[in-house]
């Protein structure tokens, strides 16, 4: 049993910012990062000198890391971090910033993810993504993550008897949720029929199982409760978090993520259970991963997700509101910001300031991260339980 982590006493998470996404942008990641800081500044009155901690994630800021970014944007932090884990970066930034604030290494940390999407950036990002991908995945048809997740989906459906209808139900619900989010890239309703008949991209992955790459930025602030109060910012608290990387390398094909190793720790530390979640913001690069998380984070047993999906309504007014901003599947995937949008949306729901419709009486939210297909599976996982003020 893992040693029980300390509670996040005194830590406040606040000020979720989303810079509205666009499909293609001629601007750089630096521009998008600046746009997020500018929005934060407008909301809080903070300037460069007030930020003493900075945690950054991006795929397209190269050659700059967080170092280039702070000089570019005029920050002088006494604590900083660069998180290269894409879909897991939001939860990871949250945990790192929280501990920095708690220990006094920083007073106010801005966690920020920004990515641009120029006309050829998706192909370029893919081509140089990771060594294992270069050596052993991309030369096999160059289907990108669609092909990798097609293999995972094919195996998952076969092994656990899950049909495309189950994934379709998730996608359709997320689209319904997206319709109230003015920033979502997908603006038309989606029917299960449309989902089922969308064209195959890499069987059994079809067009509507795939996210749309776009440009955008996401940010939030982690600080002390006192500082948040002095700035007049509504704040949520962190009940518990976990992360795990490269779990279960012995599984021939990914059927579970690292959550499984730490899920008991998560719920024990949070002092609540999956049934207590008012909304879940799951990383959703492909619906199979959303389904996997329902099992691995304790909502149902392994192999029973088809029935679980069948029994629930995942729309904002439903029994288990999922990805209430539409998620990446309907709002768009802005690179590493895709790993932050679940955090900002969870924050908004528990703080009562969503982009679209509010989950009634939302107080607790579960956020999950899943990132970086280094070769044949997602390597990085994380999760956090956030709670708004009562």
């Amino acid at each position: 049993m893992t040693r029980r982590p300390a509670a996040y006493d005194g830590v406040a998470v606040c000020c979720p910012v989303t810079v509205p996404y666009v499909r293609y942008s001629p601007e750089t990641a630096h521009w998008w990062a600046g746009a997020a800081l500018s929005a934060l500044g407008e909301r809080t009155g903070l300037g460069p000198a007030d930020i003493d901690g900075f945690c950054f994630a991006s795929f397209s800021s190269g050659p700059d890391s967080v170092v280039g970014m702070i000089q570019h944007l005029g920050l002088c932090p006494r604590w900083m971090d660069h998180i290269p884990t894409g879909g897991a970066s939001g939860v990871m930034a949250l945990r790192r910033a929280a501990r920095a604030v708690q220990s006094g290494d920083a007073d106010l940390v801005v966690c920020l993810a920004a990515d641009t999407n120029q006309v050829d950036s998706f192909r370029q990002t893919l081509a140089g993504f990771s060594r294992f991908s270069q050596d052993a995945m991309y030369p096999y048809g160059f289907g990108g993550p669609n092909a990798t997740f097609a293999l995972i989906t094919d195996n998952f459906m076969r092994t656990y008897g899950v049909g495309r209808e189950s994934f379709g139900k998730l996608c359709v619900a997320q689209r319904a949720n997206a319709l109230s989010n003015p920033h979502a890239l997908m603006k038309r309703p989606l029917s299960l029929d449309q989902y089922m008949s969308s064209r195959a991209i890499s069987d059994p992955v079809h067009l509507l199982d795939c996210v749309m790459p776009c440009a955008g930025a996401e940010a939030f602030i982690v600080t002390t409760e006192e500082k948040a109060a002095s700035l007049g910012l509504a704040a949520a608290s962190i009940k518990a978090t976990i992360e795990r990387h490269n779990a279960f390398p012995e599984d021939p094909i990914q059927v579970r993520g690292g959550w499984v190793r730490d899920v008991d720790t998560l719920w024990e530390a949070a002092g609540c259970s999956p049934e207590d979640m008012d909304t879940i913001q799951f990383y959703d690069d492909y619906p199979v991963i959303v389904a996997m998380q329902m099992e691995d984070l304790g909502f149902c047993r392994k192999g029973e997700v088809a029935g679980f999906i069948d029994r629930h309504d995942f729309t904002i007014s439903g029994s288990l509101p999922l990805n209430t901003n539409g998620g990446q599947l309907s709002a768009g995937q802005a690179g590493a910001a895709g790993g932050f949008q679940n955090v900002t949306e969870a924050l908004r729901q528990v703080l009562g300031c969503p982009l679209g419709d509010q989950v009634p009486d939302a107080r607790r939210a579960l956020v999950s991260g899943f990132g970086l297909v280094n070769y044949d599976r997602g390597v990085c996982t994380g999760a956090a339980v956030l709670e708004g003020a009562t």
Binding site: Q134, A147, D203
Partner: protein, 412 residues
Amino acid sequence: MSNPLSPPKRKDPLTPSRLGHVPPRLRSRAAKAMAVRAGQGRFVLQVCEGCSEATYPPRDRCPHCWGELRWADQPQTAVLLAETVVRATTDNFFREHLPWRIGTVQLDAGPTAVAHLHGDVAIGDQVRMRLVLDRGGNPALFALPLKETPHMQDDPQLRVFTSAPKHRRILVTDGRTRLGQDVAQALLAAGAGTVFLGNSDPLLRHDGEEWIASTPNIDMVPLDLTDSRSVSELAGTLGGRVDIIVNTAGYVRPGGVSSGSRLATLQTAMDINAFGLLRLAQSFGPALGARSDDGVNSAAAFVDINSIYAMTGNAGFAGFAASAAARLSLVAGLRGEMASVGIRVASVLCGPIDDAWHQAVPPPKVATSRVAQAVVQVLQDGLEQVCVGDVAEDLAARWQQDPFLTIREENL
């Protein structure tokens, strides 16, 4: 079963050829080491010196115990666990080859891997894995049916990785020799569409003329490898109609370095063995590269038959071995250039061939028909280097263990 390959249709001169794109080429150093073994037809994975576990994808240290890794031959069997058909890609090469089928295999050697799939393998099947080279010269895992199926070699995905002679037009550079004629015969038997046989002196009679004249699908063409104009004229005449070149030309004379040889003899050896290859590459290379992805009879390979003594030198044939070394070095350079345009460059390395110039050499000597079979195998399996015959295999094995000792042994 695979659909048997139909002969290519006559080409409409107004239709542009498909550009010779190659699959994504960036690889780690470890993957390049894997490519070397793939080019020799081996099925290898890295195995840990500490814990003996096999690992994949190629790494620089063992993920189980952090021990050092070495390449080792592995069992070729596996089971297909999952599959997908890629129908969309941003890569120029694969766009021309969609839909493209890949899968996840559980290797009996231990790791799982993503592999290209033959059309005759299905989920749950036991498969036979091959380590092949892709058109860019990089290593790739390919899952074949466990047992031979009808027209198995004609599978369109498999054919991308090979240079199979079937329906292809092949230039064999020296038709005046037994070696050139045996190679031509073996290629025709393997389904070659046409063999162009080079003849450096059409007025001078030579052995095998009657066989050539009576064999369909052989064209005798004028080709003198010592004459730049002759080579470029033939390239101009044959244009884009040559899909594979097999350079069988070789000039072998005995002699030492300080004694027993004449400078003029060495110059002739260099002119045929080394410069001849250079002339061929310069005249035919660009046209081959432009047609490397041009359908059923796309341009595919340049095969050079050379002496194993290229690697060591050879007492008694010093000048000849030097020209062979120059030739092998040129082939290495050509391989790099042609990999970027999708053409496989291969060496077939032989010990002494059983011909008039090796009368004084004791057996074993390699029969020309055996060399011809090796050429066909190199093309069918898409290899880069094979050693033919006992002498060549023995020397290569010793060289692999201790190159400098082998050089000493061959010259002292």
